[in-house]
Symmetry: C2
Subunit: 254 residues, 2 copies
């Protein structure tokens, strides 16, 4: 299944005993619907406040004799309005949403309007200070390609291989909004929020854009110590090998 | 003060002992800020889930020696992101936000996209069924003018005079959104949500548009028994006599 959700209403994707999670909410409604205990495996664990728009993908196995379309319809009726199942598709039995993911696309939304909008406070990161867009645009290409992003990982993560390939990174300017679109083969814990945190500092003139490569090479979290808040982050697509991708994502762009 | 807020985070405007209200939240922060007990009087009581965008206006008296600009700045720093103070202005002592209001403008937002967006679930009313826009547009003019709207008032309200003048009512089509903009000298409890509820039935072909006048004249709540949900409703402006209006709302449209 491909899932959209408003992350501001939840403690994050991952099931937790004491908090409302997205995974837990879907599992509960799905299990009740078909009267089986179902576990779903998400492609990634989004944090509290992080949204998905046709992004998060989860695999699961059921016994029930129900079509994918029927399941999508019934599940959307059962779920709260903060979660919407975009796609349910029958996959080859071997398919696993996490293990088969070959990349992800995220977007990060910054708003630069003269004043913050209270009805968008959960859906973008408001930066009152005027950012130097040219400096940010000069910095972005330095992130592209294959690098060791060890300095762009939140502490507490136990990942050993910190080399990642960012193969797309662009900034779209839409009125008062700055929309960063970033695609890579994978992202370390908080990696995008740390990258955007650094770009904000560059936009504030605190760090020159051509420092990015040095900061990456330093592998020093202290040199990229800012983490942009979760509310601006959207998981937009999980990429799969073509045979799976056409089923899950169809002809959808990035 | 003119206030914007995300109503989905609150039990409504009005102070309540056991729930988070917008009035209560502002009073608490304001009182703490200037170290005085301050009560604020809003122009109207918006329900839980109803938003304000530069709409709600509230008057209050303080002793503190602080400029309007300073107060606005300090208050916005103290308030949560779901509330934003748009304007603070020093008014003639006689001014009262409710008693001097001569009209209000509301907007109601319906979304008709092919599928609902979970990140907009608190900010528009999603109607999956395709509405007959022409029928709705034929119905709208029948609401304009001065009528006894007794049948368009939620039960429990004790208002005696149910005659109101709607002097502006238009429908703006913006992509998949239908935006109803309605201005009047005042509105009964739930009146706009009941009007929109009826318009949705008309858009569904359940009621012909030329029935509106008969339904109004019947003064029968059973003939206008649908109430559109709160999440689509926005208070957009409180109108005051010109001398007050220029101070509070400047040259802002409607």
């Amino acid at each position: 299944m491909v899932v959209s959700y408003d992350g501001s209403a939840y403690s994050g994707w991952q099931r937790q005993s004491s908090h409302q999670s997205i995974q837990g909410t879907i599992e509960k409604r799905l299990s009740k619907l078909i009267n089986e205990t179902v576990q779903i495996n998400g492609a990634g664990r989004t944090d509290a406040g992080v949204h998905s728009l046709s992004g998060q993908t989860a695999s699961f196995e059921i016994e029930a004799n129900i079509s994918a379309e029927q399941l999508k319809y019934a599940l959307n009726r059962a779920l709260p309005d903060s979660i919407y199942i975009e796609t349910v598709a029958e996959m080859p039995e071997i398919f696993h949403a996490r293990y088969h993911a070959i990349g992800k696309t995220y977007e990060y939304l910054i708003n630069q309007d003269v004043k913050p909008s209270p009805i968008r406070h959960n859906y973008c990161h408001y930066v009152a200070e005027r950012l130097d867009i040219e400096a940010i645009e000069q910095a972005i290409p330095h992130f592209k390609g294959t690098h060791d992003f060890a300095g762009f990982m939140a502490s507490g993560s136990s990942v050993e291989n910190t080399i990642r390939n960012i193969y797309e990174f662009e900034l779209l300017k839409e009125g008062g909004d700055l929309r960063f679109r970033i695609s890579g083969d994978g992202f370390l814990y908080n990696m995008i929020r740390i990258i955007v945190g650094l770009l904000i500092q560059i936009g504030r003139g605190k760090i020159p854009p051509n420092e990015v490569t040095k900061i990456i090479l330093s592998k020093d979290r202290n040199r990229a110590k800012w983490t942009a808040p979760a509310n601006g982050l959207y998981l937009k697509k999980v990429h799969y090998p073509l045979n799976y991708d056409v089923i899950l994502n169809g002809i959808r762009q990035s």
